[in-house]
Amino acid sequence: MIDFLKRVFLIDILKGLALTFRYTYTRVYTEQYPKEKARLAERYKGAPRLNNDPETGETLCIACDLCAVICPEDLIVVGSQRDPESRKKVLTHYTFDTSRCLFCGLCQEVCPTNAVELTQDFELATYSRESMVWDRNRLEKGWARIEFGKDYHK
């Protein structure tokens, strides 16, 4: 009997309506993304970067090629040369193809000197395919992103 009355007076539906009504006037969950900066975790695996030694400004990369070997997509190319005097490998060029990157983080994990690192930068959109292959210069400087709105960096 009570069940029947509940059905007639649409109790099940009214309960749902009460819930949605309550939510109408509570705080919203949305992040206004380009206006508010996205809050990313420290470990976020985003745009790659090739680190320099903060004191000397020289690259940390020792051209050991481990990142290129571990990369599942074979998208890292490390060019090196033997320095005739010190008999050490010296980095000549380094390219990173972000268009094929899985952002799995294996390269930064395997790097013995913390030279290659995936940063928190994630806005990788660009206008051409060619510009998705990053050379050493860009990897060291960081990515100049295409910006949305003038008040983005406030």
Binding site: C64, D65, L66, V69, I70, V110, C111, P112, T113, N114
Partner: protein, 235 residues
Amino acid sequence: MSDEEKPKRDSEAQKTAGKTDLKEESAVAEEGAEKPPVKAEEGTEKSPVKDKPAPKPKVKKKIPSYEDVDDDPVFQKLNEKVAVSVLSVQNFLDQSICTVSLDGLYELMVDLRDNADLDFNYLVDMTALDYLGDEQRFCLVYQLYSYKLGRLIRIKTRAAEDEVVPSVSSIWKTADWLEREVYDLFGIEFSGHPDLRRILLPDDWHGYPLRKDYDIKLQDQAWISSHLKIRKTPV
């Protein structure tokens, strides 16, 4: 993976695969044991920041191997008529593997399901392996589970390239798409399958991608140019 192995990557698996055979497995296993994994630049790789495993001391591990099992209760209970087609029963890492001849496959499968003592009514998975270069090139693998016994077993059978395998889709409906997939990717024909068409690849695709002689970068260029209207993709 180390420096030296890198250039060999694409071809290596195929070469080794070609040599491997079930009969030779124990021999190859010993061979593998003799060559411990190559470690390059071990000392320099450790970084203070990252949680890397410490350099591994060279301890000779017990290498798992195939052990012949004669008294497995499951295969003891099989109907005598079908039991003759069982070639061997083995254990590997606590999983039972039963190799059967292709001729007796269907009857054995029927018995495995209908035998009241066994009741293997759940076909977990079915797939194929391609041992390129062997006389009986393909190996079909069926994973069966019995809710009654709570046991997972594996049935293996070998088939030559031109041999037709009996379909088990009348025993387990699961096998319908699984066999279509094997047909699609390996090119193994099944007799008695209700609807043997390609499933993942387009119907008019040529070639069977999971065969070992199908290179990873190989594509059906004719199909691509006629359907996608693009010229040959650079390899």
